[in-house]
Subunit: 288 residues, 2 copies
Amino acid sequence: MSVPHPRLSINQATIKYTTVAEAVRVVQDAGIGAIGLWREQVQEAGLDESARIIADSGLRYSTHCRGGWFTVEEGPARRTAIDDNRRAIEETATLAAAGAEGSRAVLVLVVGGLPEGSRDLVGARERVRDAVAELAPDARAAGVTLALEPLHPMYASDRSVLSTLPQALDIAADFDPSVVGVTVDTFHIWWDPDVLAHIERAGREGRIATYQVCDWKTPLEADNLLSRHYPGDGMIDFGPMTRAVEATGYDGDIEVELLNQSIWDTAPAEAVRRTIAGFDSAVAPHLV
Amino acid sequence: MSVPHPRLSINQATIKYTTVAEAVRVVQDAGIGAIGLWREQVQEAGLDESARIIADSGLRYSTHCRGGWFTVEEGPARRTAIDDNRRAIEETATLAAAGAEGSRAVLVLVVGGLPEGSRDLVGARERVRDAVAELAPDARAAGVTLALEPLHPMYASDRSVLSTLPQALDIAADFDPSVVGVTVDTFHIWWDPDVLAHIERAGREGRIATYQVCDWKTPLEADNLLSRHYPGDGMIDFGPMTRAVEATGYDGDIEVELLNQSIWDTAPAEAVRRTIAGFDSAVAPHLV
């Protein structure tokens, strides 16, 4: 078994059917230094217990996944979403504080698609901006960076009305970089003809809160949400994007977050082993 | 049954399981004024026979579908593709000449994805540019406009390394607008935050060779190629894009091209009836 790259972090979505304790154990056992957890599992274990497990593990905490769902119009559902994001900010601060040195208090935000029955992309995008403005003081007070994640345009109607890095950067521009940044995920942006310039801009503006590597392969899975692959198993050339991120000075952990039923059906230790190998072959050679 | 809008054209892909004669008959019977055919069916009927059917019908010919597949490296496969596109140019000229006044000699180009085993998007895009340069003299001699079609980014690896209008426009810029233009298809570009500016640019540069309207709905079909819907059945707001196209002065036919198994399983006359109704409700109100 190869020694994991020191900057590799496993996002719990890659080993979805684990508790917090199980996820931490399998990541530790593999000799990996960092982890990012999902809110559902953290809430199941309890925040205090999750923080204790992270603290005991000696792992760095790389991101907390995830907040967002900001596109509904004003009303009780929107208030519920905003309140839930406030809890997510607190969770992020608590878990990052429990993590080892080098942990990052980063809350990944998937902003949401068109509200039921709406065709108004422009209005939905404005409501994302409004929600970020509403949450920014809480994030600042908690020392948490909100990491707006542009998702692949195939999710524009159902998951994210932000599809490109410039869209996310234009929203982030109203806020301090320590409070609002962006998530750079190869799976979502690899197709963009200007992706390298966008990464350079994100770095220049101090906005890269996390870098995630995940491969794309066609044909897509029947459920396009679950079409993510180990680095190296698909069509993405990780060299140019990874070097562009490195050139910005980003030196944080690099997460692998794989939503894919067949990976979920793999034993977690084996999925982690394959992630280590894919990262080593497809990503690590391009790191400084 | 509503009277079809005078600028509506049916693309044969919407009624895929038809011969040329059947497609023309069902479009005529519905009172529609224009049609675009697919090469497979034209070749099955024979080009001369297809031209005779078009001439007898009194229909306008709106586009010929489709050429392209330009991304493979130099060698026999690339030569075969280029030669095949030369035949497609001739077909386009012949069918448009057979069509009624207002016909357009437009060959839609789907440029192709990454070649087997390649991860080099940049190189693939350069080979598209090279192929267009090679075919431009033939197109010019035949009086045919090559209409580069950016496809949705979810097809970047398997169908089109051109994902945005600016990419297509940047290639077209090297050529006369009568020789190389672009296909504006709502399905592929609706998610783009700058889509209206891109349409304005396409018009300003004289590049809009055809406008196609097709709706997007999530969840996508298991085969994402077949996820296209009647206008009005999905999440696209046809108003802003249609008004932007109109504002450029584009006054040609507007095609509906629906790749969708359940539409293909509908009787062609019924699929055409539903297309007319969808166009009337979702698109026509925004036309000048």
